[in-house]
């Protein structure tokens, strides 16, 4: 049952599908996109995002993908509106590393006896996609900042101060661990390497962190 501040799972799935379909229609027709923006599509997306105490992974991913697509090609006013609606974007890093990640993991059942499952060991596809969409959103701000967009530069600077590089590096390392483990399973059918260590040789790991073997 849905309560204020939290959609039930079926309702969340339904709204997610509505958002995904609307986003698909917008991305392939300029007229549809303009119509939707005029009709308050962004307000609705931001309202969905901000109204949920614990947003579910699928819905989070759908909203962020849709917002990222709009950010890629919108005017300055809309850009500012979305950035403000996302709390200045900095809190989004929490979905990769922090309290929001833990909440998301709990909702997705990614919890074991030692607590929430680390990024490299996630199995829930929806959660992985949601985190991917957070990274995608941050990428849009980085890209726009590199193009000299003043609002994006402002957001990007704040992300930088909040430790964007460190958070994204952690995510990348986790993805590399998963990819390396998968390659190992496919090629040699050996058991997966220890989850807490990067399985790449230190000389070949692009991150070269203390976790590399």
């Amino acid at each position: 049952m849905s309560v204020p501040g939290q959609f039930s799972e079926p309702k969340s799935k339904w709204v997610e599908q509505l958002v995904n379909t609307t986003a698909a229609l917008c991305s392939h027709s300029e007229k549809t996109r303009e119509d939707c923006l005029k009709a308050g599509y962004v307000d609705r997306l931001l309202r969905i995002f901000s109204s949920q105490v614990n947003i579910r992974a699928g819905l989070l991913g759908a909203c962020l993908r849709s917002l990222a697509a709009i950010l890629m090609d919108c005017d300055s006013l809309m850009f500012k509106k979305i950035s403000a609606g996302l709390g200045g974007v900095v809190p989004m890093l929490n979905y990769i590393q922090g309290r929001r990640y833990e909440q998301l993991a709990e909702l997705c059942g990614e919890v074991d006896e030692s607590g929430t499952v680390p990024l490299a060991l996630l199995r829930n596809r929806e959660m992985k996609k949601a985190i991917g969409s957070v990274v995608g959103l941050i990428k849009v701000y980085c890209k726009k900042a590199n193009e000299g967009h003043p609002d994006a530069i402002d957001v990007s600077d704040k992300l930088d101060v909040a430790g964007r590089e460190q958070v994204l590096t952690t995510a990348l390392c986790a993805a590399l661990v998963v990819a390396a483990a998968r390659m190992q399973v496919l090629t040699t059918a050996r058991p997966r390497p220890s989850p807490h260590r990067c399985s790449l040789p230190r000389s070949r790991c692009p991150m070269t962190t203390s976790r590399c073997s």
């Binding site: 309560v3 039930s8 709204v15 379909t21 229609l25 917008c26 549809t32 009709a39 969905i48």
Partner: protein, 187 residues
């Protein structure tokens, strides 16, 4: 494969899970795809297949196709049959789900060119509004993937103003917190 048609004791679910594992298993993946399609296609194309059996096979195909690109591509010969099913007065959730998944493949999406018109008609039909949300969701998936992989379909949806109806549904869902209680438990 035979066990896919057995619903009792969760056997069908377990068989499906095993098939999904085998689809992922590198070198034997193509053999699994060939075997699945050689078993399923003749049955699905058979006009005399009972509805219940067909829906069961369709649900299995939907799950398998969502998991692997191979199955999705192997569904191409099924395109005319899929288009025919959507002409049914009341296409089932399983049918809509498989057609939506078929649209994820670009080549199949181009073959199913008549489907978007029917999808628009279904979206607007009064009866469709009374469908359970799980079934309606498959219709929306169909609209989503057909607009992604078929440019003409996207134009058609834009002209028909499908987005306006969707936006009002989004607004409704956000503004009415209790809207889903009861209805969706049944889905």
């Amino acid at each position: 494969m035979l066990s896919v048609s057995l619903e009792n004791e969760g056997l069908s679910q377990r068989a499906l899970e095993q098939l999904i594992d085998m689809l992922d298993a590198g070198s034997i993946g193509p053999v699994v795809v060939d075997t699945i399609m050689a078993t399923m296609l003749p049955q699905l194309n058979d006009p005399k297949i009972p509805n219940r059996a067909r829906n069961l096979l369709l649900r299995a195909l939907h799950t398998l196709a969502d998991e692997g690109q191979g199955i999705m591509e192997a569904m191409r010969p099924l395109a005319p049959t899929l288009a025919g099913w959507l002409s049914d007065r009341e296409p089932s959730e399983a049918m809509l789900g498989v057609i939506a998944t078929a649209f994820k493949d670009k080549k199949t999406a181009l073959e199913l060119r008549e489907v978007p018109r029917r999808a628009i008609a279904l979206l607007r039909a009064r009866e469709t509004r009374r469908w359970p949300h799980a079934r309606r969701m498959q219709l929306l998936r169909l609209v989503q993937w057909s607009s992604v992989n078929n440019e003409r379909a996207a134009e058609l949806y834009a002209k028909s103003g499908v987005h306006t109806e969707l936006l009002s549904e989004v607004a409704g869902a956000v503004s009415v917190p209790g809207q889903f209680s009861g209805t969706l438990i049944a889905c």
